[in-house]
Amino acid sequence: MFDLMWLLIAIPLASGALLLIWGKESDRFGHLIGTAASAASFVLGVVLFVRLMGEDAGHRSQAVSLFTWIDTGTFHVEMSFVLDQLSGLFVLLITGVGTLIHVYSIGYMGHDERRRRFFAYLNIFVAAMLTLVLAGDYLVLFLGWEGVGLASYLLIGFWQHKPSAAAAAKKAFVVNRVGDIGMALAIMLMFAQFGTSAIAAVDAAAPGAGDSVTTALGLLLLLGACGKSAQVPLQSWLLDAMEGPTPVSALIHAATMVTAGVYLVVRSNAIFDASEVARTAVIVVGLVTLLAGAWIGCAKDDIKKALAGSTMSQIGYMMLAAGLGPAGYAFAVFHLITHGFFKANMFLGAGSVMHGMDDDVEMRHYGGLRTMMPITFATFGLGYLAIIGVPPFAGFWSKDKIIEAAFGENLWVGLGALLGAGVTAFYMTRLMILTFLSQKRWRDDVHPHESPRVMTWPLIGLAALSAVGGILLLGDWITEWLEPVVGHAEHHELAVPAIVLTIIITAVVLLGVVAAVVFYRREPIAAETPADSSVSIFARAGRHELYGNEVNETLVVRPTRHLTRFLVWLDGMGIDGFVTGLADRLGDTSQLLRKPQTGYVRSYALTMFGGVAVVVLCLLAVTLA
């Protein structure tokens, strides 16, 4: 039965390929095929997951090897997949949320003549993402890793006629490639070190490899994770990636792909457990990104970018949790799943709003939409409650656990996480107010309206999940479920009892909400974004995404451009110039040497006579010497 897990990948992949090849004839029903494929994959996933639960705890890691991918010298890679507790959860998340988003896209992309291709790309993404999480070998994981990168590239740049979209797509791919250096080098190191990149083998060998190796591995993997999960310092691509169609932002840049980095860290727990330094690095990255993302989220007026900022910060939470080691892995995954629910929900909601507002993303042009699009408002609201962590919604449970674990690690880390929670509440409230509450600010030629059913049903589904996602924690189910994979989380006592901490957290959240209300409820909101000069330094920094792009520009892009220009010049003038210069010298020499050929026989005779003399002298010289 588990041998069929390759079908999880094969079905969407085949459908994607089919849609690409089939051509225009399939425009009418292509989207249905795509959705069906995703759904079928989901069903199979559920079946397999149930089977997995059926197995006893020892046999819940099911590995299959399809064929030998590469075998040469000492280098051997099996095209192998592992379905275990961890990947099982991801399969459900990816195919489930994925299917919902497919359905949603049927409506959202309804008017796009290239809808068929859109669904093909979505299918390919699902296949690649499943490869990523099911991989039993780091190189196979890398295959999926790059696969999702490709899908993300294609989907961000789906509206290629928009230069901004094309640029954003390229940026996303290139920045990810920077992270991939880390991945690639990590895998090479595994080969040099362990002679294999099979995850199981590496896990088994990592503890014995020595601190330096595991640290190196950990940091390299972290670099890869930063690229994929838009963590500082490789965060800059995510906000530009919002150029893509909103379902893409929901599926790839909120729910699934961007969390791959977290998955990688959790999956490589053996390595990170073995290296204190690597773990600390993960925590730092997570914490910094958490706050940076939140900060950006506060300042953006573009609804999708605000959400993107929040995504960054939420993934920061997951990273942070993953960095905490066995204590946090389970919660990282837990938050990842819940976040998958509510963030996908909110993105789709945003999409629904844009759908009603003629694809306007400027929140300052919204306002009071709750009446216009009630379902969207309701579902979005649930998501809102979930993300800011209001009991008993999904986000509350997961985030609460993470902050708790953070305090368990270190007071300052805990405080940072706590602050993040407050800021999250602030900017999400701000977003709610600007969009749904407050007074209407849209122009009269805009006629906001609720989206069609095909779009609202997925919203409802995801909203429901956001509401009840917390049940996974019921009786610590998730921690126990994941324990065989990520190891046992020894529960350490906090200075204050957990319940007190929970209350504190909730209080901070409410504080954030109140602050936002106070700030945005009183005076009427400007329909246009205030000029940079008129806003506080913090807002300005946030709007410029904390100047991440400027930093990249000055530190990387511009030097590279100059270097390239210089090298082009060097190649032409220097290297090639040298060669061609030789040719010219040759011509000159030739002209010079033909001068003696004067045509005067006497001068010829003279040369000969001189030659005679020289030859005689040479011979004498040689003998005397």
Binding site: S590, L593, V616, C618, L619, L620, T623
Partner: protein
């Protein structure tokens, strides 16, 4: 009564022993040449040209056949080095492997040149030679001569005498014979150079230069001989060799004689700095004569060079090798570089012949005699093969030159050759093949030849000279490929030259040259083995 009385007085004279069978080819060619003179004297003018041509061709073919026969039953000598042949004609000649091989290629070159000489289609039924050399250029007499269709049919006997001289030069065993041979080969060529039908001023000037410089150089050669004689008391190479090895006599006199003889011979092969005559003469002379000179003189002179320096002065090779190395490098470089800036095809070919003289010298200085028992490339065999290939290619190239014409005769200015590959691909293609062979590109004979001389030099311990050689041949290639660029990659100029349709004679020559060049590149085995089995010189 009286006879008995006389015979009682004087001892009987024992006639010199001449190996007629061995020297057959020489006698045949000489005889035919003399016959040609008689024909000149007695045969009616109307059909004389044809008769002379046929006579020459037949004679050479016969000589060639005889050469083959001679070559096959040269008796072998195994010590000290593998060699074949013997000293003949009372020590005046050495009929040995290399010599007879050279006879062979000389005769082949001669044959091809005769065919070019006999070509009459291009000048409207007249040969490439002036009607009456005595007439002033552009004079009414000249025009009249053209009307009367008078022709210098002496060119054939002259060429044959030159051929005899070359063959003698290649096989002479004593210096006096060598000098005589040198003159016998030179004097007719001086005359032939002066006989061009078109551009007669240039032709005469070329002849004058060739004559004066040639005489000048041969005087040095002669003085060298005198010194050698003074050093060793004999003209025979073997005697000189013993003298040199025993170091009898004054060292400086020996060196001086080496130097002076070297000058004479290097002049003939056109090595720097004694090359100055080459471009002018090659350009001015009638193209068939140029072909004959380029191929024949070089081959004969090189054999003489090898013979003198290996057999005669082999004992003091450590004295002369460094100088020859220097000369080789200068010659290669100069020939290759100057040819780049040439605009006239014939001059360009002249410079390329200079460069090739340099490459031949590289093989020569190797002085590598191989080891007994193994058939490895020796200096001698490599040079022989190179001469064969180079001769074929250059005769072919000059034959092509005779066909590219406009109203004023041959158009040798390179710019006129632009786009030739478009208008007449076959002709340009064969010229390109010769160029590639000169450049030493694989699958042409030139490549095998280069390989040979380089390996000889390498085996002789001059690997660095080989490196210099390959670098310079890259320079040379730069020019040859530019010619191809001109012919194939450039669009034809407005009033391009017309490619005259030759008679079967020239066609045969070109075809043979192409086949030979390519064939020697792909299956050089037979000719190479022939050169191998020629063995060393007989002393």
């Amino acid at each position: 009564m009286i006879t008995t009385f006389i015979s009682a007085e004087l001892p009987p004279i024992d006639a010199p022993t001449i190996e007629y069978s061995l020297l057959g080819p020489l006698f045949i060619v000489t005889g035919v040449a003399v016959l040609g003179v008689l024909v000149e004297a007695f045969w009616p003018r109307a059909s004389r040209f044809v008769v002379q041509a046929v006579l020459a061709v037949v004679g050479i073919v016969a000589a060639l056949a005889d050469t083959v026969w001679v070559y096959t039953d040269l008796d072998r000598i195994d010590a000290p080095l593998q060699a074949r042949g013997q000293v003949a004609g009372e020590g005046a000649l050495t009929v040995d492997g290399p010599g007879v091989f050279t006879w062979g290629i000389l005769l082949v070159f001669g044959l091809m040149s005769m065919l070019l000489f006999a070509e009459r289609r291009l000048e409207g039924g007249l040969s490439a030679f002036t009607g009456r050399a005595a007439d002033a250029p552009g004079s009414s007499a000249e025009a009249q001569a053209v009307q009367l269709r008078v022709e210098h049919t002496e060119v054939f006997p002259l060429a044959l005498f030159a051929l005899v001289g070359m063959m003698l030069f290649a096989t002479s065993n004593d210096l006096l014979t060598m000098f005589v041979a040198l003159e016998v080969l030179s004097l007719p060529l001086y005359l032939l150079c002066a006989l061009a039908r078109r551009r007669r001023l240039l032709s005469q000037e070329a002849a004058l230069k060739y004559f004066l410089l040639g005489a000048f150089s041969s005087v040095f050669f002669l003085y060298g001989i005198a010194l050698a004689y003074g050093y060793s008391g004999s003209f025979e190479l073997s005697a000189i060799d013993t003298a040199v090895t025993n170091r009898t006599g004054g060292e400086n006199m020996l060196l001086a004689s080496i130097a002076l003889m070297a000058v004479g011979l290097l002049f003939k092969i056109g090595a720097a700095p004694f090359h100055t005559w080459t471009p002018d003469v090659y350009q001015g002379a009638p193209t068939p004569v140029t072909a004959f000179m380029a191929a024949g003189t070089k081959a004969a002179a090189f054999l003489a060079l090898l013979r003198v320096f290996y057999v005669g002065f082999g004992g003091s090779q450590w004295d002369w090798r460094p100088t020859i190395v220097a000369i080789a490098i200068i010659t290669m470089f100069l020939g290759a570089v100057v040819s780049i800036s040439q605009t006239d095809v014939k001059r360009m070919l002249a410079y390329s012949s200079i460069a090739h003289a340099g490459f031949l010298l590289v093989g020569f200085v190797g002085v590598y005699a191989g080891v007994a028992g193994s058939d490895r490339i020796t200096s001698v065999s490599s040079v022989l093969f190179y001469l064969a290939v180079y001769g074929l290619s250059s005769i072919g190239a000059f034959a092509v030159v005779t066909l590219v014409r406009d109203s004023g005769g041959e158009t040798t200015h390179l710019s006129k050759w632009a786009g030739l590959g478009r208008t007449s691909p076959l002709l340009a293609g064969s010229f390109a093949i010769f160029m590639l062979s000169f450049a030493g590109i694989p699958l042409t004979g030139g490549f095998i030849g280069k390989w040979g001389v380089f390996s000889a030099a390498y085996a002789g311990g001059f690997w660095w000279l080989v490196v210099i050689g390959v670098m310079i041949s890259a320079l040379a290639a730069y020019f040859y490929v530019r010619v191809i660029v001109l012919m194939f990659f450039t669009d034809p100029v407005g009033d391009g030259p017309t490619v005259a349709v030759p008679s079967v004679l020239t066609t045969v020559v070109i075809v043979v040259a192409v086949v030979g060049t390519v064939g020697l590149g792909i299956i050089p085995g037979p000719v190479l083995d022939l050169a191998q089995h020629a063995g060393a010189f007989v002393r």
